[in-house]
Symmetry: C2
Subunit: 564 residues, 2 copies
Amino acid sequence: MPAGTQDRYTIGLDFGTLSARAVVVRVGDGTVVAEAVHDFAHGVMDRTLDAGDGHTLPPDFALEVPADYIEAIERSVHDAMQASGVDPEAVIGLGVDATSSTVVVTDAQGTPLCERPEFANNPHAYIKLWKHHGGQSQAERIVELARQREESWLGRYGGTLSSEMLLPKILETFEEAPEVYAATEEVLDVLDWLTWKLTGRLTYAAGDSGYKRMYQDGSYPSRDFLEALAPGFGGVFEEKMSHEVLPLGARVGGLDAEFARAFGLPEGIAVASGNIDAHVHAASVDAVRPGQLTGILGTSVCWVLPSARYHDVPGTFGVVDGGIADGSWGFECGQSAVGDCFAWFIENCVPASYIAEAEERGLTVFGLLAEKAAQQEIGEHGLVALDWWNGNRSILVDGNLTGLMVGQTLATTPEDQYRAIQEACCFGARVIIENFEEHGVPVDEIRVAGGLLKDSFLMQMYADITRRPLSTATVVQAGAQGSAIFAAVAAGAYPDLPSAAASMGGVVENAYVPREEASRQYDRLYEQYRHLYELFGREDPTMHALKEIRRDAMARRALRPGAR
Amino acid sequence: MPAGTQDRYTIGLDFGTLSARAVVVRVGDGTVVAEAVHDFAHGVMDRTLDAGDGHTLPPDFALEVPADYIEAIERSVHDAMQASGVDPEAVIGLGVDATSSTVVVTDAQGTPLCERPEFANNPHAYIKLWKHHGGQSQAERIVELARQREESWLGRYGGTLSSEMLLPKILETFEEAPEVYAATEEVLDVLDWLTWKLTGRLTYAAGDSGYKRMYQDGSYPSRDFLEALAPGFGGVFEEKMSHEVLPLGARVGGLDAEFARAFGLPEGIAVASGNIDAHVHAASVDAVRPGQLTGILGTSVCWVLPSARYHDVPGTFGVVDGGIADGSWGFECGQSAVGDCFAWFIENCVPASYIAEAEERGLTVFGLLAEKAAQQEIGEHGLVALDWWNGNRSILVDGNLTGLMVGQTLATTPEDQYRAIQEACCFGARVIIENFEEHGVPVDEIRVAGGLLKDSFLMQMYADITRRPLSTATVVQAGAQGSAIFAAVAAGAYPDLPSAAASMGGVVENAYVPREEASRQYDRLYEQYRHLYELFGREDPTMHALKEIRRDAMARRALRPGAR
């Protein structure tokens, strides 16, 4: 333990979709001594502009109110400090992570445009949340043009772009609300806006800049490209995003006096450069060295992997130099729906008799299904599924793919189908891992964090199917703790991220170990999965045809008398 | 109406798996004036030999007690006559249908061997019900040898044989209970045993003989073949099944005096040759002429179609000269699980909230799902399923095929999946119809009977998807009524089956008419279904591989400590 860190603390701030969480963490060993959560006052505005005149929003909109973030940061840090009993003078730094591609537009002083009376009712002047999909057509045009022009950066994003990226969102503003665009002096992902507010210094975080703002190898998409995309848009990066990009763990500046007062913390303590909420888990599970794969297992799953060398890995969702930890290439892959698939199943596919049994026996429905599934031999259900209920992010990068299940008989039970979906999610992870290794990026070990860790049956399944041990996070608040680790680096308590993560982060080593016999049996199912994966993912047109049929049906529905 | 039939009546007797139903029908117009149902006292013995010493049966056994049939026939006919108020002297005939491949072994007088004290505890001396699967390995050997020897009759059964056929059942007896086989003087399907008992004359029914006893073009599988199958078995047909095969609608004889007394009916009235319970519906819906396809829509679905000419139609389940109506070729196709699929879904896949909503609104769960599904545009669910939850009987003849669903998203609802399964069953029917037509057997119209008729949403779907009008049965007891029609022919009230069916049977003509716009939209889904049908039915090995994985898993389970 570095000298003098025993009794020092940092604050980790984790901004989710609906709330902010603050934790107070001991710098010496990473212990989370207190936490506090504060909800955003307006939540997500996806139907009406409640913070403005309440008018109805288009269907794909998802907006938030910047002031809610400021209120949440003040309240949660204040409350966590109160709960901790820690001497404020012992706090040496603060780190922030947030949902990424959550975009805010401001004037030169950092005041969000929605706070100006003339824009109070303009949706484009509010925060566009990560899941705002209003820029779908813009995203498609960006991809089309980039393919035509063979823009080299497109490969870094798996050959396509989600409408959730920053560029489609700001192009949407340029085209749909030119008056807001004209008044915009700074375009920021919210995590950079927060560190700007906290310190008075505007910089960009390296990881987020690479993954979400398309900053690659020191530059952005060219003026030439942007102008071809939309005349007049060519200067968006130069004019509205031209500040310094800081490496992860860098100190943006000292804590602003006003915030210091509100928090009850000393002015001038280190504020670390921001981070993407999923990626920051890598620090918490001490997996910031090349070859250490972190799985953030929740509603969706994010896999991040530092690598000493760059390789072309087809189907990777994003590759950024210094994107996970400074000094290595950060590879990101994703599975668009994992916990979401399980929740869908519980909501839509579990019969009343099971609900009654779970209630009677004091189990959750998840627990009951896991218990029943655990009594089976592997493969006894005779099923295999493709886990594409929300498309396939990696390694096929195709949002139009859908779910599939095969093998049902009149004897097929709910636990059979549930287990098959769980297996499919684990098989999907194995494809990602094998894809890394086949393309020269080694995966030496797997460390996992996230809400799904409480399902020990699923965790054992991950180990058996990937044929690798799983080391598990030791804290529930791994995200916020990760930000506190970056804060400790920025405060100089550790010389670098790896040493900070080693001291403050950690895992239960090899909490789940693959069982050879089980692995061998899962291999047979995986062979079927892999076959269907290639078949429906790359060759067979059925899933796309069904999406098209569905789109046409929805268009007919919209034309019905009385339809909205 | 033929002279003198206005006030005459016939009795139709319909033997199901668990009970016998008798109806009294007016010969002039087919009106069902009364009915009575009587359950079999012992039901199905599939766990223990309750009628004997109660010993535990092997898992694939399904036995019944012959005396239960006699009791049920006496009680149901007696009760139906009582309820009808019809003058017994006005009753001119009686017809019987029963489950087919339900096999009984007797002495030369027709006394079942299980009634002899020495065989009272021998399972093979009881009735082997249609779903008795104890002869599975025998069925496989029969098929294997027939393929090797290129036996021509195999093609009449789609190139394979179910273990439910008569031959595997009696070969099982020959091998497993040689003492029973040796004492057996007559091997009969139960419907022939019943007409024998009722008249004292032993004959065989043409339809059943062709479809289930492998009587084709005037002969059975050869002695040579049978001897190669099992030495000593070569004479089974010559020695134990060597009576006359009567055409459908023929008079077996006059009603026996003792039965006449028990029924309260005149001695000597006509008893018609028996019939298969599904096929007899064709008479009830007046569909006994070439080109009239009858669908018997229930837990499984049976399609029967008379044709003026024989054609090789690959994937047909059975083709018999005079099998549906005398004078034409009777083609039979089947879908192994239709109503069963819907019931499986209701049992296993409907969430508690739907059950509660159905209860609250006084609907059945079937009704609620249909109502929700009916609000959708066709194709809106984005799904397509393969309806093979119990294998595919026609046109792939592969019991190892299984279900499939593709297109699920996080927005997929229970009604979406339910509707996709219903559509798949209708698509499966369309494949059967197109297959007939492609091979020269015309389908001029569709007439349907059975329990699924009460689902009008499904019936409209059948019409839209097949692009043909659907005419529907007018009586619920279409099976028993059909037997009463054959009785009228045997009694000479009509010169032939077509004229009897025309007067006594009938349908609501074109009760459901295809809607061009809906058909056009279903066509797009059908194109996807057809593609997956060929892919998984003939090319892709996934379903078979999963069955094999499942078999191995079940074998491991059987080896567990404490397993049965």
